[in-house]
Amino acid sequence: MSARSFPGRRILLVLYLVFTLAPIYWLGHMSLRSNEAITGAFAWFPESFSLANYIGILTDPSWYDGYINSIVYVTINTVLSVTIALPAAYAFSRYSFLGDKHLFFWLLTNRMTAPAVFLLPFFQLYTALGLIDTHIAVALAHMVFNVPLAVWILEGFISGVPREIDETAYIDGYSFPRFFIRILLPLIKAGIGVTAFFCFMFSWVELLLARTLTSVDAKPIAATMTRTVSAAGMDWGTLAAAGVLTIVPGALVIYFVRRYIAKGFAMGRV
């Protein structure tokens, strides 16, 4: 037995996984049943496998456009956030400069503003710029909370790279951009993966800003769900199927970055 384990760990883990999966199982269960069956009788397992709810969603552009919109702005946001956070994280990690600590704390405070009231100024700002109902507007708005997080996480990873590596590279005649791209980036691949995962996650799950800044052309899937539900009474089956489909991209992303997460976050900071 390793020094890391404690008694009952298996039981805890299994119980917790059951707890995590039960609501998701139930969502999948609902998505396979018709509305009459759902409200009719309770059942532990679906009586029959009917994909009608999924077919309904995947053949209706007003539904699947939502997925495409969400994926587009989330991707733009993730790429932009990680790109501009990298040099900043390097600066925070390697140098001390005027006001660095205050700047760092200020960045964090941008996660602290309650959205309800800020929605209107956001709307007006992006209207004034003519960006309303575009993917870029949502991507930019989500950068407010993703960029600080990206800087925070990347700073930990870059601090884990010994400073001697920078110095050696400069002595070898590397310019800063070349050193950054050729030497530093490959060393913190895991960190970039983890950071991208978090940016993707927080942008994918956010609804209030995304809904406020879009109306038709860039409307996210989560917003489509709220509208359809209230209009058609309670269409539990379609709602559940749409819910299942919103989990799929996330599950794919986490599958791809699982190794990076396992490799260790904030390796330097710890």
């Binding site: 999966l21 964090l108 209030l208 699982r258």
Partner: protein, 296 residues
């Protein structure tokens, strides 16, 4: 300890893109909200300067006091459950191989569910007529109904938040644990350290910085929780699950009292700012103390 970082003012250029992009989307709306908070906004083109009036109103609003109280209890409960549970989960996860990957993927699923869908999932899951949880509880003889019983609603929102966010703490803690070199454990084994001693003196100090991220994120986000309870309970029954954001939104959107709502959100911001500032410095000083103790 590492050598002090060299001073280099040119580093500002590297930070500039971040500064500009965040300031653009953060400062302009913030300034606008400050402007709203001192005016009576009758229509987009018509407003009257009222000075401190809204702050007076907001600060003496008994409903806000009770919403703040509920919020503090809720956030405290969230931290008290999720941080220890997350650490325990991280300690019990398999460290390598396909089992590790599988557990990671399964565990992280709730994090990737859009927030309103989280509400929807729990709505479906907890209803007494069609939901697994509600059905089982009712069959077991509990008089459970989150839509009518304030206490049930409160617990349901808390359990939902635990379901939703404990994986974040677990992932961060797991990654932190993985970064501890094997040599530390070997040294502890030679010293004959107990399991608890290993946790307390090897693992916990090494987890400090990831836990700081986890605690601050959970504090901020639980303090602003809105979408999930809005879908699940709508703040009800009564005001049982009306946390600060719910109340604020009722004011801003429901009653279109933009001025008071703006004053409210600035007060709200100051509260979170103070809490995070205190916590940030407290955790930093704890860390510094431990480092000194070790080098002494």
């Amino acid at each position: 300890m590492s050598v002090a970082k060299p001073v280099n003012q040119r580093a500002w250029w590297l930070v500039l893109p971040v500064l500009v992009s965040v300031a653009f989307s953060a400062l302009i709306p913030l300034m606008t909200v400050v402007n709203y908070s001192v005016q009576d906004i009758l229509s987009p083109s018509q407003s009257v300067f009222v000075g401190w009036e809204w702050y007076k109103e907001v600060l003496r609003d008994p409903e806000l006091h009770s919403a703040l109280f509920r919020q503090l209890i809720f956030s405290a409960a969230v931290l008290a459950i999720q941080i220890p549970l997350g650490i325990a989960l991280a300690l019990s996860m398999p460290k390598e191989g396909w089992r590790s990957s599988l557990v990671l993927v399964l565990l992280a699923m709730p994090l990737l569910v859009p927030w309103n869908v989280v509400g929807t999932i729990w709505q479906i899951f907890a209803r007494a007529d069609i939901g697994l949880l509600g059905y089982v509880l009712t069959q077991l003889g509990f008089d459970y109904n989150y839509a009518q019983e304030p206490w049930d609603a409160w617990i349901t929102v808390l359990v939902m938040d635990v379901w939703h966010w404990t994986p974040l703490v677990a992932l961060l803690a797991f990654a932190g644990l993985r970064a501890i070199p094997e040599a530390y454990y070997q040294a502890a084994r030679i010293d004959g350290a107990s399991r608890w001693a290993v946790f307390r003196y090897v693992q916990l100090p090494k987890l400090r910085s990831v836990l700081m991220i986890a605690v601050l994120l959970r504090l901020m986000d639980s303090f602003m929780i809105y979408t999930e309870p809005f879908v699940l309970t709508g703040g009800g029954p009564g005001t049982a699950t009306t946390f600060l954001s719910q109340y604020l939104t009722q004011k801003a959107v429901g009653q279109f009292d933009l001025g008071p709502a703006a004053a409210f959100s600035l007060v709200y911001f100051l509260i979170i700012l103070l809490l995070c500032f205190v916590l940030y410095n407290f955790m930093k000083s704890v860390g510094a103390g431990e480092q000194q103790a070790r080098s002494a």
